[in-house]
Symmetry: C2
Subunit: 396 residues, 2 copies
């Protein structure tokens, strides 16, 4: 390179059918919106786009929270924004852990100086109300963190009752909805979630690179009464809010094209209706699950604790999970996720999120998985198509 040599071809990834743990497929309108002409980050037109994006995020989060906007980085930065703004050195925090992302939240609490209490669920299980009550009897956290849909294990954490219990103990509730928002009900105001973040690239089907967050007044109040400044400048919510609210004080140059794309992805959800979007996710999950059962394959998580958006399926004995994924990618352009954390090398993570939650994707994925397993010498597999089809017929 130093002598100005080297050649680089045009981008040509080919088509993908994105059924891993994210990113998921993007609608053609989202690609188009992302390619709209760039403006400045304080341009009057872009400011209107920012305001509309906030309004649409409130709709998807089902909240009236004023402090609702995307952080200019990926989902884990949204997680860290919540932790580093709410946790001061020495603050007691309880994190509920059902997989890698709960562990990540716990790790962040430690890095930002919090006094960490961990509550770990049984593998493949959510935290129960009883477990939580016991934990809250033995510590006094100001904040309790939960992962709604744990992308690594596919566990869906029931929230409504557990949030009431947390509030009984006067702690704030932080919920990770990276793999759930838009795919299964999340009602920030009705459920009294104090702080919530998500990622752009899963059920919202916008490009990766943004992390929407929403904070209620109680959480904003807690930040306003901090004793020491937030240790991160880039993720200091008070500074970021001064750019996203009517003050419009420069903080950083917003990733304008990503925000164009997020706005369009949210408009698509708004047009379809948030309830209808969730019904669609549920039907596609039901069809997929019926197919997997009929094929004789096993989910890692049992009902009723499955997230309908991300499904770890155990690779049968004698089947190498990575080579199946490779074959699906090469022969069909289908991307599945490998196992993460305790499922590494043992399962496929199959995502049914956003624009990837579609009948054609479900049917093709089941077919391709069946054919691939057979080609790789696993002959105990049945067809899942009739069972999946029955679910679609019953829901017409």
């Amino acid at each position: 390179m130093s002598d100005n040599q080297g050649s680089f071809s045009s981008l040509d990834p080919g088509n993908r059918i994105l059924m891993g743990p994210g990113p998921s497929d993007m609608h053609p309108r989202v690609y188009q919106a992302m390619g709209a002409p760039l403006t400045g980050h304080l341009d009057p037109y872009f400011i209107k786009v920012m305001d509309e994006t906030k309004t649409l995020l409130r709709y998807v989060f089902q909240t009236e929270n004023k402090l609702t906007f995307p952080i200019s980085a990926t989902g884990s930065a949204g997680m860290e924004t919540c932790i580093c703004n709410l946790v001061e050195p020495g603050d007691e925090v309880l994190i509920c852990i059902s997989g890698v992302f709960g562990e990540r939240m716990a790790e962040m609490v430690k890095r930002h100086g919090g006094q960490l209490n961990r509550l770990v669920s049984e593998p493949g299980q959510p935290i129960s109300v009883k477990q939580l009550r016991e934990a809250l009897e033995s510590c006094q956290p100001k904040l309790v963190g939960l992962v709604h849909a744990e992308t690594s294990t596919g566990v869906l954490q029931p929230l409504e009752e557990i949030i009431e219990v947390i509030h009984e103990y006067n702690a704030l509730v932080l919920v990770d909805t990276v793999a759930s928002l838009g795919g299964t009900p999340v009602k920030v105001d009705d459920w009294n979630i104090d702080v919530c973040y998500t990622g752009s690239q899963k059920c919202l089907s916008a490009p990766p690179g943004l992390s929407p967050v929403t904070f209620n007044d109680r959480a904003v109040e807690m930040i306003a009464h901090r004793k020491v400044p937030v240790d991160s400048w880039y993720l200091d919510l008070t500074l970021i809010n001064s750019y996203w609210n009517e003050d419009r004080i420069y903080h950083h140059t917003a990733p304008i094209n990503l925000i164009y794309a997020l706005r369009e992805a949210l408009i698509l959800i708004h047009e379809e209706g948030i309830d209808e979007v969730q019904v669609r996710h549920n039907i596609n999950y039901q069809a997929f699950a019926a197919g997997i059962d009929a094929m004789g394959l096993k989910f890692f998580v049992n009902e009723p604790h499955r997230a309908p958006t991300i499904n770890p399926i155990i690779a049968p004995e004698g089947v190498e999970e990575a080579s199946v994924r490779q074959a699906l990618l090469e022969n069909y352009g289908i991307e599945l996720g490998g196992g993460l954390g305790l499922l590494k090398g043992k399962a496929w993570r199959i995502g049914l999120m956003g624009q990837s939650s579609k009948r054609d994707h479900v049917i093709l994925c089941l077919t391709a998985l069946e054919e691939t397993l057979r080609l790789q010498g696993y002959d105990k597999i049945n067809s899942g198509i009739a069972a999946a089809s029955d679910v679609y017929q019953a829901n017409i």
Copy 2:
């Protein structure tokens, strides 16, 4: 919105000529690359794209540093990545300040627990070697931070001699090249810059949202010998490097479309040649400066300390700077920046960066500025076109 009302129209920002402090214009090929089909963040095709992006970044940074890749957030996150990985609580640090971005660097040192020493230049001036030597006699920093082209004031900090002096005192050198890399020479290896970061959206003309960084072995070594973990999880370089190097360990979901776009923007620079790109920036700056002088307007910074990429021009007495910017935006689609920091309300910041550093932009900007000032009642203005044209003729 809660009753599912509200209507949102298609994005239609219109065309902009981006001559502010960034973002700058993007080439049509960059828009196209950004819209290539999304893949997963561990897809074999995307891994090739990541490797090519690293190779191209090394070309633009003029370095062989292995640790060279973009941080998945905007330029200020690149700044914070450097600070939070290199500075441990109690570490002594010296920051050289010629404007808002030097101040930002100093603020970050404090937030991450560093013991801060500030060296502030005269307004519109860089730090001199003499000032630096004096400062280094009165403290023992492990790290000295400098801003190469200060976007808020337009000051270009000479680097080569000052870096030698810093190394005499056994400190590492951190350079902000957000507004210089690609627009004026930055030779990371030849000049012995230990750590360097930039933004995607200025002279590189990629979309905003990424911050390329490069660390030499000495800096990598310093991080390896940290006593405490980095307080930020998202910006922990050791974790991010495990994703960008051959280990490919999942850290976060990369902003894939932005990396597609950055790669294409870097290919454009590679095709033109990094030296030729800098010559182009210099000629356009010379023509612009000749025009501004002929018009009777004043730069904030005197030669030889002007960054050729970002030019604060003082609004003449009696002229309201904001209304001139508004008229340029409405009548021409030209975006200039307002003053920032000590220049707030007093100057326009005119960027000549990346794809915005073009003859047609320079000539149109000078013409539109002249006409607008006249329309707003300022009649002491001359034409700058002949003077600018002479520069172009002399450089054919």
